[in-house]
Homo-oligomer: 230 residues x 4
């Protein structure tokens, strides 16, 4: 069942330790088959070096397990909400990667200080509020998802494929699991350079809007000219 | 004698350089056989790449060497006190891992800034005072152990399997040597992210208590639902 | 066509990930054949582990593609301006290497705090202004090149083979692609140590001019005595 | 000539990149045969991955080359002064290792904040003044050596086998090249943790003298009990 998608998402999960984004089992990637309305996700708490493609768990968009011998990632209800609210995404990543998580813990959004950031994320990467007591105690992971999708009712989830959850860590997404991992790697690098940049100059200002526009649209949309075209 | 435990603790010791927690010989893992009242520990000052399972030294809980051609780790009297006072632990780790030691040198406890911390350590990781002149000059390593066990008379050593000794470094423990090493790796990661988090936001506050509760109890105790169950 | 130069510049490009200077495709090296007036450069957006020597794109100094199945790096117009204005260079590197880019984002030039810096770069590594709206919107990459070459009308590009572009990142150059990469590695190390040095001592002053002179001229010019001579 | 010493010092030099202490050729190890009054040292500017044991250059204590096809390290006159003034050392290391060099550039001595430091270095690692204009212009490398040996007329070079030269970098020494490299690795680790410690607590004080004494004498001198004895 969904053998190809399982393999793709297995490989995307294995990229998390390869790029240094996870310690132990602290991360997960999922990917969706939009036609069937099913997604596959890493099982909860299984070490990366024991993981196999067939271990990926198949879920539906009500959060029911459709197939799999393992429990799905405990963050699965968050993934469900994102897939339901963001119709054009095909993959989601959650990690506790060190620099992005440090920003999330600090409660600050990551300002756009340069072109590395602007090439991928349009504007500052938002840090959302911590859930309140009721939201935490009842359906914590689902409420995390609702908090994120609520924010993106007013914002473009395609121009900003990343978010920080306060006191927790980052989520990223993309057209498939591979792109979602790619964005997680970029976010970590951007988070690192923004922190160092502020230390080097405590008065630093975000990059001018026209530079942010230039770099973002150099890689995205109608007028894009970076890379080898379609 | 205790061949299986020696092998297990040998492997746990070898995980210290694998996870980047030690330089040269600056670390040690021990593990106990509660039925026999004996524990095995790394020999003192032997390089990791020369270590063999049979080099592990067997000790009793009075601190006497029962078997082994080498001297045990110089920190052995600290391990003895912890095994005596914490009846449910099976393994202990001491390292000079870089970030945890930097916090220990700074004399500050590590606040709980997020869920990575809360998943493993309930509340701030305590930094205990430096020993005084008398305690240092007479039975230094034993007194280090007594300082730790004294603190945990009023605190739960199972909900906080880590401590920092001021001007020195961290100790961690767990149900066996493997879990104690696991906790040492987590502590290092948590120490790193807490330091960076404070640099990104000098006014940062600890995570709300309800979030700390949620994450700790998601993984521990009766209602735990992380991972694949028992 | 230019098979030897392609191979040399291919190898220089492959040194960027080897030395940890690039994430994904964020960097490029070019090298010029001055007699033919042609240079070769990495194609745009092709991953390093798929790159082959024959993929290098051949360009002339008007910025026309002379040979190659791929589009050249989107930074090619910047390289063109540097080759035209700096007659004695043979290779150029652009990266988003983490520490140098953090300085570029901060908008600060890198002071010369010690002999590691002085051995390669004479004086502070300049951080140039951000381009203005008109310069960004029309011929952005070419204008980046003109901004750099304009600065070096009044400054010696051979004594300072590196520059930071504000909100963007570093460019370095040298007598060939290999030396340009060498300078990019040194710049990253110097940027790292300057940032740390300022954290250790917030009042630190640049190294005395006589020490800067000594180290620079120990390795460059008539009286050089470092290394094995010519 | 001195084939065994050449091999030993070759291996000690190869440990510098292995432990991450050098970029390119920025470091050198020497070792002395006290009976013959000759020492061997790395050649100047030869890459580590091309180095062979027979490339080591043999020097006498007047600074004359006795054997070798290459020029010796440009820092050779500094080594000469240290061998002459410190009769019980057998090896010397100079690097531009990142954290120790950052302290040297900052002009600050490294305070003893904990037992990792105290196990190897008794008291703060001194940062000596920058040479003045005359000292730099005439016999720079020799004057660097004299500045160091001058400091140790009043201080114990065996209890402090390391020094920082302002705006330059560290030198370490030991009973042979291997121990000198060991001390260079420790210095880098200690420098890193001291910088981080100060960031975590801006008001941190050095470790109490009695703790420094305890750890230093646990490993050195008559009453030492760390390791496996003689």
């Amino acid at each position: 069942m969904l053998a190809e998608l399982k393999k793709e998402i297995y490989l995307a999960n294995m990229d998390l330790p390869k790029y240094g984004l996870v310690t132990f089992t602290w991360g997960n990637v999922s990917g969706i088959d939009r036609e069937k309305g099913l997604f596959v996700i890493k099982p909860s708490g299984v070490p990366y070096d024991e993981l196999k493609p067939e271990d990926m768990v198949v879920m539906d968009l009500e959060g029911n397990k459709v197939e799999g011998k393992y429990n799905p990632s405990s963050d699965t209800p968050t993934h469900v909400e994102l897939y339901k609210a963001f119709p054009e995404i095909g993959g989601i990543v959650h990690t506790h990667s060190s620099w992005a998580t440090s920003w999330a813990q600090s409660g600050r959004s990551i300002p756009c200080y340069g072109t590395t950031h602007a090439d991928y994320f349009y504007g500052e990467v938002p840090c959302l509020r911590c859930l309140n007591k009721d939201e935490i105690e009842d359906a914590y992971e689902k409420n995390t998802g609702l908090l994120i999708t609520d924010y993106f009712k007013e914002n473009d989830y395609k121009a900003m494929p990343a978010v920080l959850c306060k006191n927790h860590g980052p989520f990223t997404w993309g057209k498939d699991g591979h792109e979602a991992v790619h964005n997680a790697v970029v976010l970590e690098e951007v988070a690192k350079m923004a922190a160092r940049c502020e230390r080097i100059n405590g008065q630093v200002e975000p990059a001018p809007q026209e530079l942010q526009d230039k770099h973002y649209y150099r890689k995205h949309g109608e007028g894009a000219y970076y890379g080898q075209g379609k």
